[in-house]
Structures are given as C-alpha cells and as structure tokens.
Symmetry: C2
Subunit: 209 residues, 2 copies
C-alpha cells in the first residue's frame, strides 16, 4: 500500500518507518522538505520527504500525524479527495500548561472538523488513544490492550483495521460512525493525567467485558 | 462506619445495600422519605430513609449517588461540613438523546462544582467510571480492572480507598488533586459509546502498564 504520513514530529517519526517495515511504500509530508531534511532526526533516514501539495498524489492511505493544533491548517494543503485519512491526532491545547485542555470536545471532534473540511475524504479515527511507541508496537506492553477505530465509511475502517492488525493489534473495537471520535479524543484528559501519575506514556487500557 | 447514601435511583439502590453487607451503618437520603418508602424498589427494604436535611447528621462518609443533573440542588440541602463526600455521579446531559453530552468538562468538573458549593466538605471522586453493579462487585468481570480515586484531602482519599478495597477493588489508581475528576468524568463519552457498542454496561478498563 502507498502510505503518506503527514507530520514530521515524534508521531510521524515513529509511524513512517513502522509502516515501511511492514512493506508499505511510505512518503512523508512536510511544509518545507528541504528544511526537514536538514533536521537531525530526518538526516539519517532515506524516507522520501514531500511537500503537503505533492505528498498524497499516489497515496492509498494518508495519515494525519500532525499536532492537533495545526492539523486543519496542514491538511488544507493536502489533496484528500477519495483517500482514506487515518487521523491519529488529538486536539490538545497546552497554552495554559499541563495538563492540556481540548480545543474541541463533547459535541464535536477534531476528526469531524477534518471531515467537514474535506468532505470527499474518508476519515477514520484510530491510534490517538496511545503514545506513538505503543501505536506501532502494542506488544511492548505486558498484556494485550485495546485499540479503537471510528469512521463512517466501512471500507475505510477495514483498511485501517488491517493496518492495525499488521502492527500487532488484536483487540480492535470498531465504531461505525466518525462522531465516536468525540469519545476517543475525550479519553485524553484522563490519559495525560495517567501519564503524569504513572511517570510514563507506556500504558494503555485493556477493555474487560 | 456510618454512611449516608444520597439518591434513591439505581446507583443508590445498589450502593446502600452493598455498604450494609460490608457491616456499615447505612442511611439513605431522599427528598421525600414518605414518597420513596412507597416505591416498589424501597418498600421491600428496611434501609432507613431520611430527608436530605437530616441524613448526614451522624455520617462519617456521605455518598453522592444522585443524577449529575440534580446533584448540586440535592446536596444543597445536605450538611456536608467536615464530611468526606464520595462523589460517584456524572454530569450527563440526555436532553438531546443518546449519547449524552456533558454539562461541565475540560476546565471544570461536577466534583469541583460540588466542592466549591461545599468548601468545608472533603470531596473525593471515585467509582463514576463504572456501572453500579461493577462499583460494588468488581469480581463480576472476568479480570481485575482499574478504579480511580481523586481528591485534595489525603485522609478522605484513604477512607474511600479503604471502602473500595472492602468492595473488592485491588488496582486503585489515586490522583492527589480533585481536578483529576475532569479526566474521570470525560471518560464517560467513550464509556457510553462502548456501552452502546458492546450492548452491556458490564465492562471496565484494566490499566496495563
């Protein structure tokens, strides 16, 4: 599969090589490919860097790995029409320090904002409930844990589900509508406090039923 | 311990007898004890019913088991000064149907609203993250799961922690400030969607770290 990862922060740095290890053809989208190529974390990789405008041209699946505060702006330059967009971002607002608050919640979500901005995209929310290292390696935790997938398009959800399965996720709980992203994003206020309390981001919930 | 349970809905109906089975001296607070005594669910019990004004007089611990939409109004009639108040409620707003939204969130919580209305109470948030049957019987789930305690007063947290332990809770994660209730209450938007998705309220999260 041809995957375009948008965003060159810690999430993009973790997801892009992980998808390539799975055998996918991965390109990375960044505002200024020349500037990104000079950054220490990217200088040592041969992952192709592309401008936002070019990155999604041939992609089967696009991943929003930008920070939630800049996602709408960054994606505005990406052609998402007809593409599956896996949104792993969170609408965290750190402007008042830690713990962050949410810029959107309860009656709306960042995933839905992205969907409205790109009506022809097939947005799927997933992976936003765990730290990047766990996203790509659920086995690093001591037990199997649970991951969620929410989206309106069944085939788009299935594409994402397959990708999660390839990453090692077994307990995948699927929501058939994108507005379930409200619940997934509103898990973050507890998640960030647990991170502070536990002193690590290496944790996740296991749904026991 | 003398425990006053405020609220006669399904949560109060579950918590009050469970606390008595543990050997505690339990009274139940209701707006109109005479009317409540005639309701089918209460006619068959000998749990003492008291008005809000009288229920907390001798209590060591008061439990807010009222609906989140009426909690502030109900508790306004209860003398909570110096008492440990265990708040198990959630600020759910069902006025637009299912799934509910939250009446307070992100930068505030129902627990903090209650604390501000009763500055001399020692408010502790706990148990709001699971359905009533699981609150009092965590062993009904197939595996040990996790419960949370948040409050500013260390001794009040310890009282609640002991009570949870007596109910069978083992994995108790404690937050040292009441504002962590924001995270605990914001778990509900995911919880209610999981309930809809799984077709049962008999579930909980197990924190894997």
């Amino acid at each position: 599969m041809r995957i375009a990862v948008i965003g060159t922060g810690s999430v993009g740095q973790t997801l892009a090589p992980a998808f390539r290890r799975l055998g996918h053809d991965v390109v990375v989208g960044t505002r200024d490919p020349g500037a990104t190529a000079e950054r220490e974390e990217w200088a040592s990789t041969d992952l192709p860097l592309r401008s936002y405008a070019e990155v999604a041209t041939d992609a089967d699946l696009v991943v929003n790995a930008t920070g939630g505060d800049v996602s709408l702006e960054a994606l505005a330059e990406v052609d998402l029409d007809g593409k599956v967009l896996l949104d792993v971002s969170n609408p965290l607002d750190f402007s008042a320090g830690f713990p962050p608050t949410l810029t959107v919640k309860d009656t709306d979500s960042l995933a839905e904002q992205i969907q409205r901005a790109h009506p022809e995209a097939r947005v799927v929310k997933a992976l936003n409930t765990v730290t990047a290292a766990v996203m790509v390696d659920p086995g690093r935790l001591a037990e199997q844990t649970t991951i969620f997938v929410a989206g309106d398009d069944p085939l788009a959800r299935e594409s994402v589900r397959q990708l999660l399965s390839d990453l090692g996720w077994v307990d995948i709980v699927e929501f058939p509508t994108l507005d379930a992203a409200r619940g997934l994003e509103m898990w973050l206020p507890l998640w960030v406090r647990l991170m502070g309390n536990l002193g690590t981001a290496d944790f996740n919930l296991r749904l026991v039923r």
